[in-house]
Symmetry: C2
Subunit: 391 residues, 2 copies
């Protein structure tokens, strides 16, 4: 019988992470639905486009694995030029590190003894691990734990961009924490600042978004200057995301971008608008949920086999990729009811159709495997190794 | 290398289903969060209460496993007196049957060849399997597949209660399908009718709910009479749920209740009101998400480590079990921001607190394990074996 800690460790070590190669390639029409499918051509185009853009603008890419939860994809991003990854949770970091990815930044505070121990355990094996901290008492706990294990843990200070989610207040409070780490925490190494203005990522309209984001990040820049004037170097400034990828360069503040959604995209991002365009289409939707029409209870309705358990429902409803003139109504946990107002094509029982996801991150978190598709065929499955690893 | 079908079959056969006994019991405060916890005393009280009530009213209990996704819990329900279970999907049925539960009704239509084959494969091993059907063409496909495998498959006709989700129109269309099955499908055995008025489960106010439900079910009763007058016996009438558990007996139509949520309850059900009470409290909330306070970015805010990936967000926001005078704001995928308007107790960094779930089914579907708790201690984990089995 394992202890709880042993059980958790074993389950992370044994979670499937390699591609499952199929003996026979399967046509997409044969995949049991609901299924999460990746259009590989579009996915690769997104991968390259972001990397090329950031390289040309001298910003590093630190991909956020909270979105895809998949070491296979993280390795592809690193192979394409990303310097490393972010993890939103300790267990995501454990999954990534267990599967060969060492340059990992944990982007959300950790405060309890058992999780601080898990971070330190990762740090013992991996000098490239970085942790965010936003509180002096917590810094002390990490310092003690790092000292006990004989390591120096690299930490970034997390700044609250005024969003009120995580992070310490900018200006003097942040500097006080910085000084405390530098002066009193000899087992912590100050690595820089994190400032993720999540509330700006989905501001509609490019100019509107740029204006508000620049205003908020201006305060981050002031805090960085405050640190430097106090003699604390800030080698790294980490944050931003898909919604600000082409705003950061103009600011010149961010050294690394924490983008995740760009590889898959979703309806929420599409709707925010791009530079000079009504829709944000710098990246193309490459992620879909394949659904099947399973019932036709009434003349102008057809029901598909995907509801709250197949699409995250925190945002708008899903949309078909290839059918217009219909309205998706949530039909509960396992169903979506399609109102056939003026459908651009017929939908018959048994038809399998790809749908765009409203919000990719929590939708991915509902599935165990991706079905990557090229030319209509699936040759292997990719385990979503860190799915459900919210701890 | 497996074929896709082999891979899916293997993954269901090998999915963990037994309790994971821990070498040392763990205090609930040591559980890494977010975690799904069951208060065992309340859970068992709910289990007994529903069973006793239905026994006294001569209605069978066919528990819906779409809610808990857990063979351990299904066995407890059957041990307490349930006649069998429902499954919303083929893969849920596969998980249950693989783990020793044979009296299974699949409650949602299946229409594609690969899934019809999976249902028939289950039926070959299990004469107690039942499938719903709501379309003549699909009945023919099932009949052919059953004949090929040399079995008689028991089927219920799914009636659309006017919800427009699944089911055939009541009255003549349903009878036509019934006659077709009886007359032309010699490998199908007509087992009765299913009518699940999901749109009635959450009607607020008991009398209001009872009135609307009785009206709708009256049409189901007429269809049943139509069948009987045409010489088709209807031994089973299956449907209903937690929200109508104490309405069915007065109607005298339902022979078996498809209840799921009663063992755990959630905020959505609490709010609908009970018989003679503002809140529906016939069953008590026994399911909680344990969260940790991880950041205090501003004076009147504290952030917990649970957002869209830890609570289903199709309904209202979660609530603390033991703290009042605060407001939960969704803080994204991994965070909830607690506004401390007039908190009934202090919340400090590192505090672990249980929260009620807004909607239990899709919340359960986010987790791999339950932590059952008695007297504040966890002795084993229960795998949520069918989690993510939406196919």
């Amino acid at each position: 019988m394992p202890s709880l800690q042993e059980f958790i460790k074993d389950s992370i070590n044994s979670a499937p992470a390699e591609p499952v190669k199929l003996s026979d390639a399967v046509a997409i029409e044969e995949v049991p639905t609901p299924a999460l499918i990746i259009d590989l051509d579009l996915f690769e185009r997104n991968l390259d486009k972001m990397q090329t853009y950031l390289r040309n603008n001298s910003i590093d890419l630190r991909c956020h694995t909270k979105m895809h939860k998949c070491p296979i994809i993280a390795h592809k991003q690193i192979d394409a030029g990303a310097i490393g990854v972010c993890a939103a949770t300790v267990s995501e970091a454990e999954v990534m590190q267990t599967n060969g990815i060492t340059n990992v930044l944990i982007t959300s505070p950790v405060v309890t003894p058992e999780k601080i121990d898990r971070v330190i355990t990762l740090g013992v094996d991996n000098p490239d691990l970085q942790m965010v901290i936003d509180d002096i008492e917590i810094a002390n706990l990490f310092n003690k734990a790092a000292k006990r294990s004989g390591i120096q843990l690299s930490v970034l200070i997390d700044l609250d961009p005024g969003m009120g989610r995580t992070g310490i207040e900018m200006g003097d409070p942040a500097l006080t924490l910085g000084n405390h780490i530098v002066d009193n925490c000899d087992s912590l190494r100050f690595g820089g600042l994190q400032m993720y203005a999540g509330h700006c990522m989905h501001i509609e309209g490019f100019e509107n978004r740029r204006g508000k984001y620049n205003h908020i990040m201006g305060k981050g820049a002031e805090t960085k200057t405050l640190f430097e004037e106090s003699g604390i170097e800030v080698p790294v400034f980490s944050g931003g995301g898909t919604g600000t990828f082409n705003i950061e360069a103009g600011l010149g503040l961010m050294t690394e971008l924490q983008a995740g959604s760009y590889i898959f995209m979703d309806i929420e991002y599409r709707e925010i608008g791009g530079e000079g365009s009504e829709r944000f289409e710098d990246f193309e939707p490459s992620l879909f949920v394949l659904v099947t029409a399973i019932s036709k209870p009434q003349q102008r309705l057809i029901t598909v086999d995907a509801g709250f358990k197949s699409f995250a429902s925190d945002k708008m409803a899903p949309e078909f990729r290839d059918v217009e003139g219909v309205i998706f109504h949530w039909g509960g946990d396992e169903h979506g009811i399609i109102q056939l107002t003026n459908p651009s094509r017929e939908i018959n029982l048994g038809d399998k159709l790809p749908m765009l996801t409203p919000h990719c991150d929590p939708t991915v978190n509902l599935y165990d495997y991706y079905y990557p598709v090229r030319d209509g065929m699936v040759e292997e499955l990719w385990p979503i190794t860190a799915r459900g690893r919210s701890q």
